[in-house]
Structure formats: C-alpha cells, structure tokens
C-alpha cells in the first residue's frame, strides 16, 4: 500500500522532478563545456515567462493536439509508475508521440513537416528495441507488468545486461540527444515538431519534455528490481553517459541513425532475448 502512495506522489510530482532534472542537466552540460550554466530553476523561469506571452494559435486542433500530447505522456508515465502493463506503456508513449507528429503535420510550415517526418523515423528506430526489452522482461518475470520487474528480488540487469546496453543506445534517440537528435535539430529545422507552438501551448510541449526525462529514468529503474541503490547508481551513470555523449558527438543523419539502431541496438536486444528464452 505504501508503494502505491509513493507511486501516486511520484506521478503528481513528475513535472516538478523532470523540470529539476532538466535544469540540473543544463548545468552539468554547461560545466562540461567549461561554462557556468543557467540557475537550477531555469526551466521554471522559462515556464512562467512562456505563460505570460501572447498566444499565437495556428489553428485550434494544432494547439489541442499539443496539449493532448502532454496529457497522454503523463498518463503513460502514470501507468508505468503504478506498475502497469509494459506493452500498454509503450503503446501510450507511442500514442503521445503520434499526437505531436499529427499536430506538426496539421500546419503548413515546411520545417514542421520535416520535423514530423524525422520524429516518425526516430520512433521507428527506438520502438522495436523497447518492445524486445519488454518481451525479455516477460521471459524473465513471467508477466508484462512493470510491477513484477520493480518488485523482483534479483535485479534484471544481471540477467539481461545486453538489453540494458541496447536501452542506453536508444535513449539518446528518445530524449533527442546529440548523435541522434535529427528530430529536433535546432540548427537545421529549429525544433521540428515543436516549431509552430507558442506561448502557453508551447509550454505543454516544453513540459512534456520534462516528463520524458522521468519516463526514461523510470525505464532505467526497471533494470534494478527492488534494489533502489542499484537503481540510483544506474540512473546517475545514465545521466553522465547521456550528457557526455551529447557534448562530444556530432549529429548523424536519419539513415545512419536508423541503420545503427536497427542494426546494433535491435540485434543486441534480440540476442539478449534469445539467451533469456534458451536458458
């Protein structure tokens, strides 16, 4: 029962945690480049500032889809934290991305369309790996429930290390981090799918980015089972790895990203699944 309360508190505080995580990440990234970096609460300052800007709505469906993206992502996170079905979680996450892509297609902006194409391709790159990981967890724990993975006594990491490596390789695609950030690509398509949002409607997309951080780190926690210490260690490792990778690599194009993801990450996850199902 206490687990349930903790999950509910985590769900309600998820945007807050994500915002702090994003603010901390910006500082860490700046320090890696020998800069001072913005204050920790910078994402919240941005949040309040954006609330005060004039709204420029392209059309109402566009703004509505942006807000639905935020809500469905929060819902996916809630299902994951409450220990729901992993396949459902992945599907809900896919739905939230699809809503954002739809909203980008609904405008007439060329950059928005380009960003939507690229986002769709990045979904194609990371989604199969996530599903294979979910199936691997099913092979080990006997159920698709995330709760079973969270409460397993032996951490799943020891039994599926290759799947963890595969997850580490697809996380930059999901979080739009540097070698695989074609979907956002600020220098080429100036943000892609989020291009046409402004004011309070951009806030929904901006906050959804924070929720994505919490979502990804919860996926990392899946591998630690009931061992919380290991979970935090893995998260800190992932955090440093993601930022170091983001700072030290240049963007690859979408073909290279797709080839790498389906060639290397997918094969790693698949080999892991084969070993799990044979042993």
């Amino acid at each position: 029962m206490t687990n349930m309360y903790i999950s509910i508190i985590l769900i309600i505080a998820a945007p807050l945690i994500g915002g702090l995580l994003y603010g901390f990440e910006r500082i860490v990234k700046a320090r890696m480049q020998r800069r001072i970096g913005p204050p920790l609460l910078q994402p919240f300052y941005d949040f309040f500032k954006l609330a005060d800007k004039r709204k420029m709505v392209v059309h109402s469906a566009h703004a509505f889809l942006g807000i639905m993206h935020f809500i469905s992502l929060w819902f996916a996170l809630a299902v994951l934290l409450l220990g729901g079905d992993l396949i459902l979680v992945i599907f809900l996450h896919l739905l939230s991305s699809a809503l954002l892509i739809l909203s980008a297609y609904s405008t007439r902006s060329v950059f928005s369309h380009l960003g939507a194409n690229r986002s769709a391709i990045s979904i194609l790159a990371y989604e199969p790996v996530l599903i294979i990981i979910a199936v691997s967890i099913f092979m080990l724990t006997g159920s698709f429930e995330a709760g079973a993975a969270f409460s397993s006594n032996q951490p799943l990491l020891y039994k599926m290390p290759l799947a963890f490596v595969a997850l580490l390789l697809v996380l930059p695609i999901k979080l739009k981090k540097s070698p695989f950030d074609v979907a956002e690509a600020h220098q080429e398509v100036t943000g892609g799918v989020e291009l046409e949002f402004s004011g309070i409607f951009y806030e929904a997309v901006y906050t959804a980015k924070w929720l994505d951080y919490v979502f990804c780190y919860t996926l990392i926690f899946l591998f630690a089972g009931s061992n919380l210490l290991l979970g935090f260690a893995l998260s800190i490792f992932t955090f440093i790895y993601l930022n170091a990778l983001d700072n030290s690599t240049a963007r690859v194009n979408y073909k290279q990203m797709l080839r790498f993801s389906l060639g290397v990450s997918f094969s790693l996850a698949f080999i892991n699944l084969l070993i799990n199902s044979l042993s």
Binding site: P38, G191, L195, Y202
Partner: protein
C-alpha cells in the same frame, strides 16, 4: 499573478542576419561561448520566432532581406524587443547610401536598443540586451494599436529616409 518579473530571467534570443558581413554575427555567437556564457542569465539562441523574446538584427537590411525581417518581426509574439546590433544595423554604417540597402533596421521595424560598433564587442551586446530587458519588462502582451501614418518618405543625400514616418507614433 504578476509574471512579468520572469521575463528578464529567461529571455530567448532570435538572431537574424539582414545582410551583415558576418562580423557582428560572430560576436553574437562568441557571447554563447565559455568566455561570456550568456546562458547563465537564462538566454538561449532559439532560432524560432514564435518562442523568442528578443530579436537581435545585424546588417544594413538589404532590399532582399527586408521582407523576411518584417515577416520574422510579425511572427514574434508580444512582448518583444528589437535590438539593432552594430553600426550597419543602427544607421547603415559603411553601406549607407548604397543602391541595395536603405540604412538601418529602424526604417522598417521599431527598434528599442541600438548597439554601436563595427563589429560590436560581446560586452556591448550583453549590455544592450540587459538594457533591452528593462524595456521588455514594461511592455504589454497586447497587440499594438494600428496608427494612421501621415508622413511620406523623403530622400536626402541619395538615401531614402523613413525614420520620421513612425516617429509620429511615439
């Protein structure tokens, strides 16, 4: 709830090159680097007019780039501040009187802060942005009311001058 105090804590910058020689642009990018690091004030170079607060314009506004400049200005949601960076953007600089430009950003859009220098120093740009932030805090998010303009453009020293047209608004 009064949120206007947060404007100066997270100004997002849009940089537009209106035919500049790239000197001022390099200085703007130098502001983002480790030495000056304007991100510590929460500034981001967004490149997206719909989400930015400050428009940094460099260059003497060539006839090719003026429509884009006005278009970008119109796409920025209020409150917004325009900063003319460099001698060319402020007055036309060495290009003043040439056939392909009409000297300065303020011929087309209202400018709040002028930053001098050819090219401007990063310190000057940061100072100009800080002055712009004080103006940003006073602005409202309503659209500006339309005003009937009575004055005509005049030509002086082989240079079309539109500055006094908008002067009647203030």
């Amino acid at each position: 709830m009064n949120l206007s105090g947060y404007r100066k804590k997270s100004p997002w910058i849009l940089h537009y090159n209106a035919g500049s020689c790239n000197g001022c642009d390099i200085e703007i990018l130098a502001c983002l680097g480790p030495k000056y690091d304007i991100e510590r004030f929460g500034m981001i170079n967004t490149g997206n007019p719909k989400q930015s607060d400050i428009l940094l314009v460099t260059g003497p506004v060539t006839k090719r780039s003026r429509e884009r400049l006005v278009e970008i200005y119109a796409q920025m949601p209020e409150p917004k501040v325009v900063i003319a960076c460099g001698a060319c953007a402020s007055t036309g600089g060495v290009f003043r009187g040439m056939y392909n430009c009409e000297g300065g950003v303020d011929q087309y859009i209202p400018v709040d802060v002028y930053v001098c220098g050819c090219g401007t120093r990063p310190e000057q740009i940061i100072d100009g942005v800080v002055q712009g932030l004080a103006i940003l805090e006073q602005k409202t998010k309503e659209l500006e009311a339309s005003v009937k303009l009575n004055n005509e453009a005049i030509e002086e020293n082989h240079q079309v001058n539109r500055r006094h047209i908008a002067a009647s608004i203030k």
